[in-house]
Symmetry: C2
Subunit: 339 residues, 2 copies
């Protein structure tokens, strides 16, 4: 079977979203004559006067960042969601809209401008995990907020406008599309089987091993069978936990270690600071029974063939389905070999 | 109502996919410090010796292109889908995959290397429409093919590897995700109301006018209420037709005219050859009753603020929902003013 998946086009089912992706393994051979990204491998200084995220610097709105030592969090100066907007609804035939409130924050991972998560120690990353826990709790407790999306855009090619190590949190009143899909799939599975969808999936993967990148006592890092991005990976807790608050300090450290191992390996693939968007999908904070949720963190890195050639999700992907060339198994093997 | 939509974050419902998009109109003011795209406004020659799509040139696989005069179509030398692959299925617990067969073609719009659709006359574009009709018919008649996706990636920023004016057709055995969603939404509406979803939607838009860009006797060009990309637009036939074969020659001309008007206006927005991915969504060729389908063509252009600053669909958009800053109404007005 596995040779067929290695050689012929097929589609794979994403158990978490209920959608399919097209895999064309034979296509990895095509030559590339398209756009090359620019790479900046220049070493950055530890402090940059002109960076609005560095400690002690003044932001565009005039606020001064504190002399922070590890993690620093503030409300986004250009927030896409606001907490004080009016409530309204459009229900005019086929024109349907609803006001959406929320709170957007910026999370600086380190005062050191020159670093990324890949350059930080698991101990330093653990502090970021603690900060995420605190924010998930506080924002989640706000009656306005029913879902907290923690994410990072890393690298200019991922629309990141500042190389200072940082991520964001957009929290809001309703569930965004992707979360809603995963909510439905996990709920249906849990109701039917009484065990978590991802827990059951992990059992299968840990037995097969071909898509496993790394594991420690509490976490598995793997390339999901249905991965879309060339080197997509997922960090999953081994036991069924619905959100990051369920991690004790030691587990928070092991989670940080998993992030560290994966991001360090990523940087070695093309010998460059590896761009990606990452995000944590976890239980909504809507006060409902969310025990069907098994939280996880995904990494969507765009690079395909080199530090300058990325995968474009364009025409067919926008109008049809996501499409990939190298298989999940091959990608897992490549990353695993770099640990 | 409309001032609220102009000023405060809200989500809008896409009636065709059943998904939501987040609109943050107040956010258009944020400064941009991120990646700038490179623009190449250099005039290209009408014939380029090194272009594998120009007439008379030799392709990588050794085939020689004919001395074509208008449209030229061939099977993709690096096809993502193949028609002669074996049938197989993986149904191993939560690992689910299926072989997928298909036929991928390249459609050269013109022998003139220097042109894009925006530089061609409606009469020239009409020949492209005739070619699309022929391919939709022929591929659709093939028992292997149940869906024909016609699309174009224009511009290096959209992963297009060759500036020669061309599009692609990926046809396959099953319905891709986006088509499947639109199939469901249109079917449900048609069953319930006995009229086409888009037909009903058009009635509303033609009355309100604020999102209309252009219309002729057979087509409307508009920015859909739920548009995702900054200058996204849709071309919709005024009468309910399920696929492009239902166009007579005059309607094919009027369709070509709509494409011409829109693409010319696009080029004026930032005074550059405007990149986009476009695609036609129409009835599957699966032999079922597809009278609920109302075909349409969508344009997804990434540029946001200038010829070099695009919208990035990254972190929040990948993990949550698509997000836009300028409203559909504002974008429609800007494009309309350039016609
Ligand atoms: O087929 P091309 O032009 O080489 O490739 C382009 O379009 C394809 C279909 O949208 C995408 O899968 C590729 O990522 C993109 O670079
Ligand atoms: O908030 P930033 O970093 O300015 O902006 C970046 O991330 C956002 C959230 O994914 C996206 O909406 C923007 O397109 C992207 O450029």
């Amino acid at each position: 079977m596995s040779t067929l998946l290695d050689d012929y086009s097929h589609k794979r089912f994403n158990i978490l979203t209920g959608e399919w992706i097209l895999v064309s393994p034979h296509r990895a051979k095509r030559p590339w004559q398209g756009q090359n990204e620019t790479v900046n491998n220049e070493k950055r200084p530890s402090h940059d006067e002109s960076c609005y995220l560095c400690a002690g610097n003044t932001r565009i709105n005039g606020e001064v960042n504190p002399e922070y030592k590890d993690v620093f969090i503030f409300t986004n100066d250009f927030a896409a969601l606001q907490s004080d907007s009016p409530d309204f609804e459009v229900n005019d035939g086929l024109l349907i809209a609803q006001s959406e409130k929320g709170i957007c924050k910026v999370v600086c991972f380190s005062p050191d401008h020159s670093k990324s998560l890949a350059d930080m120690t698991p101990g330093e990353i653990q502090k970021v995990v603690f900060a995420w826990q605190k924010e998930y709790k506080e924002l989640g407790d706000n009656p306005l907020i029913n879902y907290v999306q923690i994410f990072e855009n890393k690298g200019a090619v991922m629309g990141c406008s500042n190389p200072h190590p940082h991520g964001q949190i957009w929290s809001q009143s309703t569930l965004p599309n992707e979360v809603d899909k995963k909510n439905t799939q996990q709920l249906n599975y849990y109701k039917k089987n009484g065990i978590s969808l991802l827990g059951h999936y992990l059992d299968q993967e840990l037995e097969k091993k071909e898509r496993i990148i790394y594991e420690n006592d509490a976490f598995v890092v793997l390339v999901p069978f249905w991965a879309v991005w060339p080197f997509e990976a997922m960090i999953v807790p081994k036991t069924h936990k619905s959100n990051i608050l369920e991690l004790n300090d030691e587990e928070a450290y092991l989670y940080a270690e998993a992030i560290s191992v994966l991001t360090k390996a990523y940087d070695k693939i093309f010998n460059t600071s590896f761009p990606y968007s990452s995000g944590i999908h976890q239980a909504p904070t809507n006060g409902k029974d969310n025990s069907h949720w098994h939280w996880h963190m995904s990494f969507y890195p765009p690079l395909l063939r080199s530090a300058t050639v990325k995968k474009f999700m364009v025409g067919y992907e926008m109008f049809g389905s996501p499409q990939r060339d190298i298989t999940a198994e091959k990608a897992a093997q490549m990353i695993r070999n770099l640990i």
